[in-house]
C-alpha cells in the first residue's frame, strides 16, 4: 500500500457515469474518491473553498461534454490559476476526435481518453493515470 493515497476528483454531469465511477473504483485501496462534482463550475468552487493546499486533489478527471463549462474549458481555467496549475487533469468522453485530443494536450491535459465501458476498463484508466503521474513527479 502506498504511503499516501491519491486523491481523485471527478466532474461529470451524468448521474450514471458518476455512479459507475464510484461503484467500480470504491474497492481500490490506493485512491481516495473525493465527492464528485457535476459541472466544471463546481470543480472550481470546490477547489476555491479548500483552505489547505494539502486537501487539493492529486488528479482531476473531467468529462468533456458538460453544460456550462465543458471539460476543455474547465482545464483552461485550471491552467490559468497558479494554485491549480500543477494538478494532472484527465479528460474523458464517450467520443473523442483528434482535434479535441490536440487541443486538450496543448492546454496541458495529462491524457484524453474514451469513457471506459466496463469495470476492468475503469480500473485500467486509473492504473494508467497513476503510473503516468508517478513518472512525472519523479523528475
Amino acid at each position: 500500500m502506498p504511503a499516501t493515497l491519491t486523491k481523485i476528483l471527478l466532474a461529470d454531469d451524468d448521474l450514471d457515469d458518476r455512479w459507475f465511477f464510484e461503484d467500480f473504483l470504491k474497492g481500490r485501496e490506493d485512491i481516495i474518491l473525493l465527492p464528485a462534482a457535476t459541472s466544471g463550475i463546481e470543480v472550481i468552487q470546490y477547489l476555491d473553498n479548500l483552505t489547505s493546499a494539502n486537501d487539493l486533489p492529486d488528479i482531476i478527471i473531467l468529462d468533456h461534454n458538460m453544460p456550462g463549462l465543458n471539460g476543455k474549458e474547465t482545464l483552461a481555467l485550471l491552467r490559468s490559476r497558479n494554485r491549480y496549475n500543477e494538478i494532472p487533469v484527465l479528460i474523458y468522453s464517450t467520443y473523442i476526435g483528434q482535434k479535441l485530443i490536440d487541443e486538450c494536450m496543448k492546454l496541458g491535459a495529462a491524457s484524453v481518453m474514451l469513457k471506459p465501458s466496463s469495470p476492468d476498463e475503469y480500473n485500467g484508466m486509473i492504473d494508467r493515470i497513476l503510473s503516468d503521474t508517478a513518472k512525472k513527479t519523479d523528475y
Binding site: D16, F20, T94, Y95, K115, S117, S118, P119
Partner: protein
C-alpha cells in the same frame, strides 16, 4: 518550181495531216485521261520548253467539289477566281454569282480588320483564323485557313472555309452542361457533407446510451447472473450481444463517413506485407476455423496503408466467416498485371495497374447479388448465422474508389467467391 501540187502529192499531204491530227487527238485524249505528265514543245527560238500538266488536277477538283469545307481561290486583289459549291452554300449565294466578287464582300464589317490581316499575311505564309461569314441576314462562324497556290496562271491564294456552327453549338451546349454538372456537384457535395455530419453526430450521440446499456446489462449478468432463471439469462445475453453488434455498426458507420472527409495520403507500400499483416491479425480466427491463406506475389503500389489493410482485412475475414461448415476455408490471394495503354488518344499514355484476386472455397452467393453486396447494410445471410454490420464491403468499395480502382465479385452459390480488385500502381499527385 511550180506551187501546183499533183493529185498524188495532195493525197500524200492529206495522209500526213490525217496522221498528225490522229496524233494530236491521241495526245489530247492522253492529256484528258491523265496519261501525260509533261509535254516538251519547241518554242520559236527552237529551244525546248517543258510544260507540266497538273494531271491530278481533275481528281483534286472532284475532291474539292465534294468536300465539306468551302474552298475559294483569290487573286492578288482578293477577287474570287474559283469557288466550290460548299462555299456558295455557306454564303447562301448561287455558285454562278460568287465568282468575280471580292471575298471581302462576304466578311461582315466587324471582322474586316481580321480578314485583311489574314489576307495580307496569307501571301507570305500559311495562316488561319476564326471569323464570321455573311450568309444573307445571318452570320456563320467559320475557320478560314489560307495558303498560296502556284498555278500556271500565276500565284493565287486558296482559302478553306470550315463552318463552325455545329462545333460552336456543341461548345455552348457543353459549357451549359458543364455548368449544370458543376451546380449539381456542388449540391451533392453539400448534401453529402450534411449526411456525413448527420452520420457522425448521430453515431456519437447513439454511443452514449448504448455504452450504458452495455455496462448495465454486463453488470446485471456478472452480479446477479446466478439468481436469474435460465430464460432470463438468455434474454440478457441477447441484450449484450445486440448492444455489442450495434457498437460495431456505429463504429463502422463512423469510419465509413470519415472516409469521405479525410484527405488522402498515398505511399508506395508492399501489398504482400499488408496481406501478411492482416493474416497475423486474423490469427485467432484462422486457427479457430482451421483456415489456410495462400499469398501469391503482390507488387508494391501507392496506397493508403491503413485503408488498404482495412479492405484486405474485410475480404479475408469475410472468406473465413462465410466458409462451409464442414470444409476448412482456403483463401488464395493472387495478382496479375492489368496495365492499360491508351491507344485512343495520341499521347499513348499507359496506366500501370494490377488486378488482385481473393478467392475462397466458402458458401459463395448468388450472382444476382454481385453488385448489391457492396451497398451499405446489405446482408445476404441472416445475422443469426453470420455476424457483421453489413458495412464492410461498402467501406472496401469506397476505399478502392478513393484509390481510383474498382472492386467486383464473382461467385456461385456453394462454390466459393472471388473478389477482384483493380488498382493503379500510382496515384496522381495533386
Amino acid at each position: 518550181m511550180s506551187t501546183q501540187k499533183t493529185y498524188k502529192e495532195l493525197l500524200a499531204e492529206n495522209e500526213r495531216l490525217r496522221l498528225q491530227l490522229e496524233e494530236a487527238t491521241e495526245t489530247i485524249h492522253a492529256i484528258r485521261t491523265g496519261q501525260v505528265d509533261a509535254l516538251v514543245v519547241n518554242d520559236q527560238d527552237g529551244r525546248h520548253q517543258l510544260y507540266t500538266l497538273k494531271t491530278a488536277d481533275q481528281t483534286y477538283r472532284v475532291f474539292i467539289e465534294k468536300m465539306n469545307e468551302g474552298a475559294v481561290t483569290l487573286n492578288e486583289e482578293g477577287i474570287i477566281l474559283y469557288c466550290n459549291s460548299m462555299f456558295a452554300s455557306i454564303a447562301g449565294v448561287p455558285l454562278s454569282k460568287v465568282i468575280g466578287l471580292p471575298f471581302a464582300s462576304f466578311i461582315p464589317d466587324g471582322f474586316r480588320e481580321i480578314y485583311n490581316d489574314l489576307f495580307s499575311s496569307g501571301w507570305l505564309e500559311d495562316n488561319k483564323t476564326e471569323i464570321s461569314i455573311k450568309s444573307g441576314d445571318r452570320l456563320v462562324p467559320c475557320q478560314l485557313s489560307v495558303t498560296t497556290l502556284d498555278l500556271d496562271e500565276g500565284v493565287s491564294l486558296s482559302v478553306i472555309i470550315t463552318d463552325l456552327t455545329f462545333q460552336k453549338e456543341t461548345q455552348t451546349l457543353l459549357k451549359l452542361n458543364n455548368q449544370r454538372l458543376e451546380q449539381a456537384n456542388a449540391e451533392l457535395e453539400k448534401s453529402n457533407h450534411d449526411l456525413q455530419q448527420f452520420a457522425s453526430v448521430a453515431s456519437h450521440d447513439l454511443q452514449e446510451p448504448l455504452r450504458k446499456i452495455s455496462i448495465f446489462s454486463t453488470m446485471l449478468r456478472s452480479r446477479h447472473g446466478d439468481e436469474l432463471p435460465a430464460d432470463s439469462a438468455m434474454y440478457l445475453n441477447k441484450i449484450i450481444a445486440s448492444s455489442n453488434r450495434m457498437k460495431t455498426m456505429i463504429i463502422d458507420i463512423l469510419s465509413y463517413s470519415k472516409l469521405s472527409t479525410h484527405t488522402d495520403h498515398f505511399a508506395l507500400t508492399d501489398l504482400t506485407e499488408i496481406v501478411k499483416d492482416v493474416v497475423d491479425d486474423c490469427e485467432i480466427m484462422i486457427q479457430e476455423k482451421n483456415a489456410t491463406v495462400i499469398i501469391g506475389d503482390l507488387p508494391a503500389a501507392e496506397v493508403n496503408r491503413g485503408q488498404m489493410r482495412q479492405v484486405f482485412q474485410n475480404l479475408i475475414s469475410n472468406s473465413i466467416k462465410f466458409s462451409k461448415v464442414d470444409v476448412p476455408p482456403v483463401i488464395h490471394v493472387t495478382s496479375q498485371d492489368a496495365s492499360v495503354t491508351d491507344h485512343v488518344s495520341k499521347n499513348g499514355n499507359s496506366q500501370e495497374a494490377i488486378s488482385i484476386q481473393f478467392s475462397d472455397n466458402g458458401i459463395g452467393f448468388n450472382e444476382l447479388y454481385q453488385d448489391k453486396i457492396f451497398s451499405l447494410f446489405e446482408r445476404l445471410n441472416t445475422k443469426d448465422q453470420y455476424e457483421g454490420s453489413g458495412i464492410g464491403l461498402a467501406i472496401s468499395k469506397k476505399i478502392i474508389g478513393k484509390h481510383n480502382g474498382t472492386i467486383s465479385a464473382i461467385s456461385r452459390e456453394g462454390e466459393g467467391s472471388c473478389f477482384i480488385i483493380r488498382l493503379p500502381l500510382h496515384q496522381n499527385k495533386s
